[in-house]
C-alpha cells in the first residue's frame, strides 16, 4: 500500500533521513521506534510533505506521491496526527473535528460529514460532552483523542500517528491503543505508529522498524523485535548486563 525507497531528507545542511526504505501492506499496523532525534518525526513529516524529501521515491497505492503538496496527500487518504497533538486550542472541539474534514466540504459531503462526526463521538464519548469547549481547555489525553478524531474525519486509508502516548497517563495510553486496534479491526485502517514507548507499540503492532540517527537499522515482525537483544537493550530498558552477561 505504501512504499518508501531510499528517502533522503534534510533540514538545511542537516541530513535527517539517510536512504530510508519502508513498506506497509493494507490493514497492517506498523510501528517505527527509535530514540530522540533518530528521525521518526522527520519520516512522518516527509510522508505528509511538510518537509519534502530531497531524493527517493514514495509510492502510495501504486502512485508516486513524492512531489505532491500536503493537501493532495490528505486528499489521497493519508492523515497525519502530528507530534504533540497540535489541536487548534482557541477553536471548539467540534470546529477542530470539522477542520479535519476540510477538503471534503468542497465536495459537498455535508451529510456524510455529520455521520462521521457522530462516529467520532461514539468512539470518544468524552469529546461529545465537550464539543462546545475550547480545545485548549481539554486534558492531554482528551486532546490526543481529539487529534486522532480530527485525522479520522478525513476518512483516511492510512493513519500516521506521531507519539500518541507522549506525556499521557498509562491508563489513557491503553485506551488510545485500544482505539487504534479497533480502528484496524472495524475499518481496516492501516496505521504507521511512531513511538518511544517501544514495549507498548511492539505489543500492538504487526511489524516494526528501528530507526537510529537517520538510518533504518532493523526491521521485522513485532514479536521477534520484542525478543531481539539489541532492541531490548536499547529501547526496552533492560541493562546490558542482564542480556549479554547472562
Amino acid at each position: 500500500m505504501l512504499r518508501l525507497k531510499n528517502i533522503n531528507t534534510y533540514y538545511g545542511q542537516v541530513h535527517a533521513l539517510r536512504n530510508v526504505s519502508l513498506h506497509l501492506a493494507k490493514g497492517e499496523i506498523v510501528t517505527l521506534i527509535g530514540a530522540n532525534g533518530a528521525g521518526k518525526t522527520s519520516l512522518l513529516n516527509t510522508l505528509s510533505a511538510i518537509t519534502p524529501a530531497r531524493s527517493g521515491e514514495i509510492h502510495f497505492q501504486g502512485e508516486g506521491i513524492g512531489t505532491l503538496p500536503p493537501d493532495r496527500i490528505v486528499e489521497l487518504g493519508i492523515s497525519h496526527v502530528p507530534e504533540g497533538r497540535q489541536v487548534f486550542k482557541p477553536l471548539s472541539v467540534e470546529d477542530n473535528l470539522e477542520l479535519g474534514a476540510y477538503l471534503r466540504y468542497r465536495k459537498k459531503e455535508k451529510i456524510a460529514i455529520r455521520q462521521d462526526l457522530e462516529m467520532i463521538y461514539e468512539l470518544f464519548p468524552r469529546l461529545r460532552e465537550r464539543r462546545k469547549q475550547m480545545a485548549g481547555t481539554l486534558s492531554g489525553g482528551e486532546q490526543q483523542m481529539l487529534a486522532i478524531g480530527r485525522a479520522l474525519m478525513a476518512r483516511p486509508k492510512l493513519l500516521l500517528l506521531d507519539e500518541p502516548s507522549m506525556g499521557l497517563a498509562p491508563l489513557v495510553v491503553q485506551e488510545i491503543f485500544r482505539v487504534i486496534e479497533n480502528l484496524r479491526r472495524e475499518k481496516g485502517t492501516t496505521v504507521l505508529l511512531v513511538e518511544q514507548n517501544a514495549k507498548a507499540a511492539l505489543a500492538l503492532a504487526d511489524r516494526g522498524y528501528v530507526l537510529e540517527t537517520g538510518k533504518m537499522i532493523l526491521e521485522g515482525v513485532a514479536s521477534e523485535l520484542l525478543e531481539n537483544r539489541e532492541v531490548q537493550r536499547a529501547y526496552l530498558g533492560k541493562e546490558k548486563k542482564e542480556i549479554w552477561e547472562r
Binding site: E75, P82, V87, L91, G100
Partner: protein, 322 residues
C-alpha cells in the same frame, strides 16, 4: 452564529435610522469617516484577527485605491464606478503578487516587509508629482452618481458609505462562519497542523491578504469620491498603525469589534478637542487602560458586561421569588 446575524440586522437598522436623529452636518461628516474606517478595520481584521498575519502597510492599499480611482476620474475623465472596479482589481492583483513572497515571512519579519511596502507607496505618491500632484494633493475628483442621483451632500454620502460598510461586514460575518473562516483560525493557531489537515495555508493566506487589500481599495475609492480631494498624508505609516490599533482595541477576530474600534478611534480625537493640547496624552492613556482591562478588546468587554448584567438579573429574579 444566528446571534451574529440577528445582531447584524439590528445594527443595520440602527445605522439607517441614525440620520433621522442627527441632522447636523458636522456629526454626519464624522459618521461618514467612521463608515470608511469600519470598512478598513473589518478588512484588516480578516487578515490580522482571523488568519493571524500582521500588516503594517494597509494604509497603502487604501491610498492606492483612492489614487487609482482619483487619477482616472479627475485626470482622464473615466466613470467613477468603473474606476473603483479597476482600482479594486488592480490593487487585488498587486496584493496577490506581493503576497506570495512576503507572506512566507512570519511575525516581526512580516511586519517589517509590509511596513516597507507601505513606505514605498507613500514615497511614490509623494514623488510622482505629474501623476498624483505630489504632497499638495489631487483635487477635482468627481462624486459618485447613480442615474441622476449625485452623492454630494453629507446625508447622501452617509447612506452610500454605510451601505458599503454594511455589505463588507455581512460578507465578513459569512466568511467567518464558513469553512474558510475555520481554516483561517486554524492557520492562526498552528500553520503546520492546518497543513496536515489539507488546508493550503500558503494560498489561503495570500487570498485573504488580497481580499483585505481589495476591500481597502474600495474604501479608498469611496474616500476619494466623497472627499473629492486626497493627499498622501492620509495614507502614511501613521494611518497603518491606527488601523492596527482599531482592530486590536475593537477585538481581534470580532467583526462588530472592528466597528467598535473604528468608531472609538474616529470619535475620540473629536471628543478630545476639549482638552486641547493634552489630547494625545489622554488618547494614549485611554488606549493603555483599555488594553489592560479589556484584553479581548471592546467586543470582549461588551460581551463580559452583558454576561454580568444577565447573571445579576437572574439573581434579582431569584431573590424576588425567594
Amino acid at each position: 452564529m444566528k446571534r451574529d446575524y440577528l445582531l447584524f440586522i439590528l445594527f443595520a437598522l440602527l445605522v439607517y435610522a441614525v440620520p433621522t436623529f442627527f441632522k447636523g452636518g458636522y456629526l454626519l461628516n464624522v459618521l461618514v469617516f467612521m463608515g470608511i474606517n469600519t470598512m478598513l478595520a473589518v478588512a484588516l481584521n480578516l487578515l490580522l484577527g482571523f488568519a493571524g498575519q500582521i500588516s503594517l502597510g494597509h494604509a497603502s492599499f487604501f491610498g492606492l485605491g483612492a489614487y487609482c480611482s482619483g487619477i482616472l476620474t479627475a485626470t482622464y475623465g473615466f466613470n467613477p464606478w468603473l474606476t473603483m472596479v479597476i482600482a479594486a482589481a488592480g490593487v487585488g492583483l498587486l496584493a496577490f503578487g506581493l503576497g506570495f513572497p512576503i507572506l512566507k515571512l512570519k511575525g516581526h519579519y512580516l511586519a517589517m516587509a509590509t511596513l516597507g511596502f507601505g513606505i514605498i507607496v507613500y514615497i511614490v505618491l509623494n514623488e510622482t508629482v505629474a501623476l498624483t500632484g505630489g504632497p499638495s494633493g489631487l483635487s477635482g475628483i468627481p462624486n459618485l452618481k447613480i442615474g441622476t442621483l449625485l452623492f454630494d451632500g453629507d446625508l447622501k454620502n452617509y447612506y452610500l458609505i454605510w451601505t458599503f460598510a454594511l455589505v463588507t461586514m455581512l460578507l465578513s460575518i459569512n466568511l467567518a462562519h464558513s469553512r474558510i473562516g475555520r481554516a483561517l483560525r486554524a492557520i492562526h493557531d498552528s500553520e503546520v497542523a492546518s497543513r496536515v489537515m489539507g488546508v493550503n495555508a500558503r494560498l489561503l493566506k495570500v487570498q485573504i491578504f488580497s481580499l483585505s487589500a481589495v476591500i481597502s481599495a474600495v474604501a479608498g475609492g469611496l474616500y476619494a469620491h466623497t472627499m473629492s480631494f486626497i493627499s498622501p498624508a492620509s495614507f502614511g505609516f501613521n494611518f497603518s498603525v491606527e488601523l492596527v490599533t482599531m482592530v486590536v482595541i475593537g477585538g481581534l477576530g470580532s467583526i462588530f469589534g472592528s466597528f467598535l474600534g473604528a468608531a472609538l478611534l474616529t470619535i475620540l480625537p473629536e471628543l478630545l478637542r476639549v482638552v486641547q493640547d493634552y489630547d494625545i496624552v489622554v488618547y494614549g492613556l485611554l488606549l493603555i487602560v483599555m488594553t489592560m482591562y479589556m484584553p479581548k478588546g471592546l467586543a470582549g468587554g461588551v460581551a463580559a458586561c452583558w454576561r454580568l448584567l444577565r447573571s445579576k438579573k437572574v439573581k434579582a429574579v431569584e431573590n424576588a421569588q425567594g
